[in-house]
Each structure stands twice: as structure tokens, then as C-alpha cells.
Point group: C2
């Protein structure tokens, strides 16, 4: 509870905006510099998109770029879209090549073009190169800051070149130097360490690693994850059209893509599936994205609940059953979702393949039987304690036990089948699971109850 | 559907085990080398822990270490535990310092000690150093492979030293050289690039970056994530007891910890909360871990459903309501979970703070009203179409609309409150949410129905 309430109440975003509107660039700069990064992100999150633009417009491009780079991508892109193209282009120059492409890729095409028209030709070309590739590919993740040297240069020449252009390469992640032929084709790589340890008069050709591991620009995220798991490289050259060097892919960018995917899956697991949501986005966008998921679910829910409508007479006779229907629906969902989680994890780790549904199923029914027994006994006891009717206990306990086995069977195998069909199992497994388990659960309780109705009433 | 069924049916794990049991080391080695990494991981996943030990025992330590490094950590640790301590120690020597500590940290203390007793003194010391720190801290994630040089050495001397010990440093990630005083205290860092570009007769002291950014060995994951977001470094020195250099923390290890946390949160979102589960683990362990979550949920479910029991007379009178109770419970859970997801994400991004529940709430009710209206109208139409009773439509539609607002309010704010209380919001938000929204949902439907009962019956 020792939260810095005082700080939260000082509302630094209000003073940022006020300084920007007053045109007081010096004080604004001082205030931005004085805010720790976490507070800066938090303050910018409290500004509306156009307000973020107002503040950025009054900062020098270098400082503005630093702020933009620290913001969540959606905010940063919005803010860039609010700036005058020339101001946005100034900030663009201060960003890394991949950040440039990521930001412009989120803008409308005409907004991005307006900014690129104001950028230097090299920057514009680099961004256009990167934007050719889908964001979730090697080309979309790579950077174009790399050092390429001719194969026939000597170590001494390369070191002198690096020394002379030390300014230009300051922002580069120079861990490797790439040797290219006169046609621009990749010939090999020289780790910086080897350059350091080699005698100055040796030629690059004599120390380079030939046929280095490289990656196609259109390689998918899954291929990249596997490649970087297998090799300890800090970066790999990216090639297109055979052997043309087009960029380098750094391990940190592949790692960032992996974090992003895991976070997207986390959102999907809770039903945010129509695209990222931050509460600063317009209400209608947020509502529409959430409804896209909810409206599918309500239809499936109605379908599942229609099973109950078939047994109205039984329910009428034993109204206590109505208390147990939502419990059985919810608990089966819980059990099934656990099995979904383990299947998604095993698929991601590569220890289970989409073809192995039978193997998964045999492993699930064991756990399903044990847990079904435990939960069924628990629920049966509740029913007996409440109504003193052992038959009611038997009906709801047996239904929950049976349905737990069904739920883990569906939950375990459905992700594999969805993956086999080429869809995203993190997205589709939940609704399939809950619909089927609800229908089965309602059927088990109500049909069992119908069978033993005389004893239930007694 | 173009799955490699033939390959899946060849069951490479069976032939690996057979070769190991026959003691045919040469063929076993060939077969291991012939399997692509993904197939090797998959094959080892199909072996029981003791079988994995049998296969590894017959491989040379280098190859065995390569296999161990590629397996999910839980499998790798199990397999190490099955090996004779001497064989395990041989494999240990071939692994990086952080992998060694991660594996031994998962074994029982006496198993780990038995293996360390067979390892070289340097390895044993390095592992013991790393195991002092919790796995989710800078000390637990760092590696002990770094190059420390005296401050008063010249560039030429350091380069010669690196050249002479090129074998020893082969497995190191030499991006920086660390300058330490005679007392072992960190004085500064020299990026490899600066070493390359500096003249040989300059002293390290004259080119080193003094007071470099460094990190305490006990720094938490959240501090590390923020630090590596803020700085572009590939690695940072880790210090303990003031300024003593104890290891280096590489960006890739921080990234890996971030992926791991996101994946753990993904599992939590679906109810795997008692610890990692792979289907090769013993059934009783798996069942017990899942039940730890399910048993809490069933109690909460019973509490929530007890609201229904209070309105048995109303239900008895209008049995159609029983069909809508599970729909309202499930849909409110969906809406609420979406709000939970957005709150968890905003907390992780730092754009929302645990103290800002009011702000979140004002943003949620807008979306809740819109979505509640849409879903309520939909469900009301279903009720009217089914029973031709507008009052029934009004009751279930209004209840769902109201409860959607409740659900997003709870879902949006509860993660902040749980975080403020110091608990894990990814874990506890779900059960709190569904219990409260179920109770409210049942109450809304049934109390509204009771109010308008004469018209409902009509």
C-alpha cells in the first residue's frame, strides 16, 4: 500500500502538455529528461494521440526518437501519424531501421508515404525494403545496419575503414563483418573477434567463414525460432534471390518476436483476439474487437444450452438440478482448458506432434478419471448435504465425473486437430471445447436424472 | 494433411533405446547424428526418464551435452538425475555455466552434490556460485564465462592474451572485456570493438568506459526487463557486495526469462498453476497439480450457484430460465476475462499502475455498456423467438446487459487490486472474477424474474 500516491497525483502528463502548448521547449526538454523512463511511458499513456503529437513536435528529434522508442508500438505509431510529415521524418532518422519499418508499417499507406517523402533517400529505401516483407518473417524482423566489405580487402584495411567511419557505425551492432562479392552476393562472415585476433596483412578471404548459416528473407517465425535455438549466433545474414545479402537478423529481434507471440497467446487465452487493445484506443474499436469474439461465443452458448430445453420436464420435476447445471458447465471448462494448455505447450516445445492425438488421449483419460472421481465425489457430497438425497448426489457426481473425462479428452486432442487443419489452436480450442463439454455435461446430468426420476423425487 | 506419417511410424526412440541396450555405441552415435534436432527432441520425449539416461550414458559427453541442451529443461534434469554421477559430471563440463546451474538446480540437493563431487573444482565452484542466487534474479541468470583483465595492461597485451588463450575463450561470448582492480572490483568495460579500433600501445585504463551500467546479483526479473529495455547492451556486468564482479548477464538470457514468464502466464490463464506439466510426468503428479486449481474452483462455483437455490420457486414457475443461467454465467466470464487480459497487459507495459483502478473502471464501463447492450439484445431475441414471451426476453436480456457491465468492471479492476495486495494477478483474477460475476448474473436474472413473475407466466 506504500504506493507513491503523491507522484501519481502530480500528473506529469498535464504539465508536459501545458509546456508544449505554451511553446516552452526548454522547460519541456528539462521535464522530459527529469522523468525516469517508466514514468515517461506512463505519462505519455495518459495523453490522447494528438496530445502526444503536440509534445513530440516541440522536442528535438533525438529526444523525441528516444521517447518514441520507449513507448508501446501502438502509441508510438499513433503519435507519428499525428506529427507533420517533416517532423516525423526527422524522428525517423534517429531510429534503428527495424523500428522505422515497424512504426510506418502500422500507419495508413498514405501517411507512411508522406513521411518517407520527407526522409533521406537512404532511409526511405531501407524502410521500403523492410516493408516488402511480412512483419512475421526474417525480412520483416531484420535490420539493414550491417558492415559489408569486399572479400579481397586486408584485415588492416577493414580495421582502418571501421576506424574512419566510427561515427557512421556507432549505432550498428557490429558483431560480424560480412564479405560480399562484387555482385552483392554473400561470400562469408568474419566475427569481430577473428578480425581482432588476425594479423593485419591477412586478407579477409583467408579468414572468413565460407558458406555461413544464413536465412531466407521469407523464412517464417517458426523457422527462425528453431534456427536460433539450434545455433548460438548473435546474428545471421538474411539473403534474398539466392545469395544477395539484404540485411542481418539479430538474436534480440527474434527473441522479441517470441515474447510478442507468447504475449499474444496469453491475450487469446482470455478472449482478446481481434487485435491488440489498450484502453486509450477509441471505445468503438475496443467494443467491436471484443464483440467479434463474444458474438461467436454467445451463439455457441445458445446451441449448447438448447440441450437443457429438451429436458424441461425433468427440470420441472427436480428443480434442484438447475443449481448444478452451471457448476458442471464451468468445472468441465476448467478441466478441459488445463488439457488445452498442456497440449499447446507440448506442441510449442515439439515434444508432441499434431498427428499424435491418440497418444495424448491415452495420457489424458488417466488424469481425467482421477480428477473426475475426486470432483464428482466432492459435488455429490455437496448435493447430499444440501438435499439429503443420495440419488441427486449420484446424478450430479456421476455426470461431473463423466464430463471431466470428456473435457480432458476434447481439451487435449482438439488443439492437435486444429493445428493439423492449419488453424491457430490458441484461438479456436477454447470455444470448441466449451461448446462440446457444455452439451455433454447438460446431457449427462439431465438424461441420468430422467432415468432415475422416481428416486430423485422421492 | 501432408504429415510425415511414415516417419512418425518408424519410432526412432525405439531404435535409440535398442541400440543403447545392445551397447552399440557406434551405431547409436550415428543414429543420433542422423536425426534432425526437432526429431531428436521428439524422440527423447517418447522415452521414459530412465530410458533417456540409458541412451545418454552410451554417448560421448560432448554429444550427450548437445542432446541435453536441446531438451526441455524438465526432461534434461530428469535424465541427468538418472545417470551415474561421473557420467553426469562429464556432460556438465560440456555445458555453459548457466545451463549447468539450471539443470542442477532442478535436482534434489543430494543428487546435485553427488554430480558436483565428480566435476572439476572450477566447474563445481561456478555452479555453487550461481546456485546461491534465486533462478529469477540477475545472479541466477548470469554466466561466469567472462574475460577480466587488469586495468594497467596495454591493448596489445590484452589482444595477445586473447590470442594465446583462444581455445579457452572459444565458448565465451566475448563482446566486452572487463577491467578489474587488484581487489577484484569492477573498474570499467571495454567493448571488443573499441579494443579493435584502439592503438596497441594504449593502456586499458585510457580506453575503458568507467562506471559502466552494472546490475546487482539480487536484481529481480522486473528490474532486469526494464534495464535491458532502456539500454541496448548485449550484456551487463553483475556485481555483488558493492563492486565485486561475479558474472555477466547476457541479453539473450534476459530475453529467455521473459519468454518463460509469458509462457507461464499463458499456462496460468488456462488453469495450469501448480507447476509445469508435460504428459510424460507421472499421472499422480499431473492429477494432483491440476486438482489444486480445480478444487478451489469447485468450492467457488458451489458458493456462486447457491444464489440459484434461493430462487427455486421462481425457477419452478418459469423453468425456461434454467436454460439461460449457464449462458449468462459463461458470457459474463468471457466479457470479464477480456477485461482481465487488457489489464494484465497494461500492467506489464507500465501504461497502467495498480493505483489507477478508478481510471480503468471509467474506461471499462463504456465498453461494458455497448457490449452489454449488443449481447443483451441478442439474447433477448433468442428468448422471444423461442418462447414468444417478450417479458422473458426482457428479463434475460437486461440481466445479461447489466452483468456484462459488472463483469468488465470486476475484470478490469481486480488485477490491479490483486497486484496492489502483492499477489499474482495472472493467477488469482480468474476465480475472483467468475465467482462474483456468476453470483451477480444469477441474482439479476432470478430477482428480475421474481419481480415480473405474473407477466412471465402469462
Amino acid at each position: 500500500m506504500a504506493e507513491p500516491e503523491a507522484l501519481a497525483e502530480s500528473k506529469p502528463w498535464e504539465s508536459l502538455l501545458e509546456l508544449a502548448r505554451r511553446g516552452d521547449a526548454t522547460s519541456l526538454r528539462q521535464q522530459v529528461d527529469a522523468l525516469p523512463e517508466a514514468d515517461r511511458v506512463h505519462a505519455f499513456a495518459h495523453l490522447a494521440p494528438e496530445e502526444r503529437g503536440e509534445v513530440l513536435a516541440l522536442l528535438d528529434p533525438e529526444r523525441a526518437a528516444e521517447v518514441v522508442a520507449s513507448l508501446p508500438e501502438a502509441y508510438a505509431a499513433e503519435a507519428m501519424g499525428e506529427l507533420a510529415p517533416q517532423a516525423a521524418a526527422g524522428i525517423l532518422e534517429e531510429l534503428g531501421s527495424d523500428a522505422r519499418a515497424d512504426l510506418l508499417g502500422q500507419l495508413e499507406a498514405h501517411e507512411a508515404e508522406a513521411i518517407l517523402a520527407e526522409a533521406t533517400p537512404e532511409t526511405a529505401e531501407s524502410v521500403r525494403t523492410l516493408l516488402q516483407y511480412p512483419p512475421e518473417s526474417a525480412g520483416g524482423l531484420m535490420v539493414t545496419e550491417y558492415v559489408a566489405v569486399p572479400e579481397d580487402a586486408t584485415v588492416q584495411e577493414v580495421v582502418s575503414h571501421l576506424r574512419t567511419h566510427v561515427e557512421r557505425y556507432a549505432g550498428y551492432v557490429v558483431q560480424y563483418v560480412y564479405a560480399a562479392g562484387p555482385d552483392g552476393a554473400l561470400r562469408g562472415v568474419v566475427p569481430l573477434r577473428d578480425l581482432l585476433l588476425a594479423r593485419g596483412d591477412r586478407s579477409i578471404a583467408s579468414i572468413l567463414i565460407r558458406d555461413p548459416v544464413c536465412v531466407r528473407a521469407d523464412a517464417s517465425l517458426d523457422e527462425l525460432f528453431e534456427l536460433f535455438d539450434r545455433h548460438a549466433f548473435l546474428g545471421l545474414p538474411v539473403v534474398a534471390d539466392g545469395k544477395m545479402l539484404v540485411g542481418i537478423l539479430r538474436r534480440q529481434d527474434v527473441d522479441a518476436a517470441r515474447v510478442q507471440r507468447a504475449e499474444a497467446n496469453q491475450l487469446k487465452a482470455r478472449g482478446i483476439v481481434g487485435g491488440e487493445e489498450l484502453r486509450s484506443m477509441p471505445v468503438l474499436t475496443r467494443s467491436a474487437r471484443r464483440l467479434s469474439w463474444l458474438s461467436i461465443n454467445i451463439v455457441l452458448n445458445v446451441v449448447a444450452a438448447s440441450v437443457i430445453a429438451l429436458y424441461q420436464d425433468t427440470l420441472q420435476a427436480v428443480i434442484a438440478l438447475a443449481v448444478f447445471l452451471p457448476i458442471i458447465s464451468d468445472m468441465s471448462g476448467c478441466s478441459g482448458n488445463q488439457a488445452v494448455a498442456v497440449s499447446l505447450r507440448e506442441l510449442a516445445l515439439g515434444v508432441t506432434r499434431p498427428t499424435e492425438a491418440m497418444r495424448v488421449w491415452t495420457k489424458e483419460i488417466l488424469v481425467g478419471c482421477l480428477n473426475g472421481l475426486a470432483l464428482g465425489l466432492l459435488l455429490a457430497s455437496v448435493a447430499v448435504l444440501w438435499k439429503g438425497n443420495p440419488t441427486l448426489g449420484f446424478v450430479v457426481g456421476a455426470a461431473l465425473a463423466l464430463n471431466t473425462v470428456v473435457a480432458v479428452s476434447i481439451g487435449g486432442t482438439v488443439p492437435l486437430l486444429i493445428k493439423r487443419l492449419g488453424y491457430d489452436p490458441a484461438l479456436a480450442s477454447g470455444p470448441v471445447l466449451t461448446t462440446v463439454t457444455d452439451m455433454c455435461g447438460f446431457f449427462f446430468v439431465l438424461s441420468l436424472a430422467t432415468l432415475v426420476l422416481p428416486m430423485l423425487r422421492g
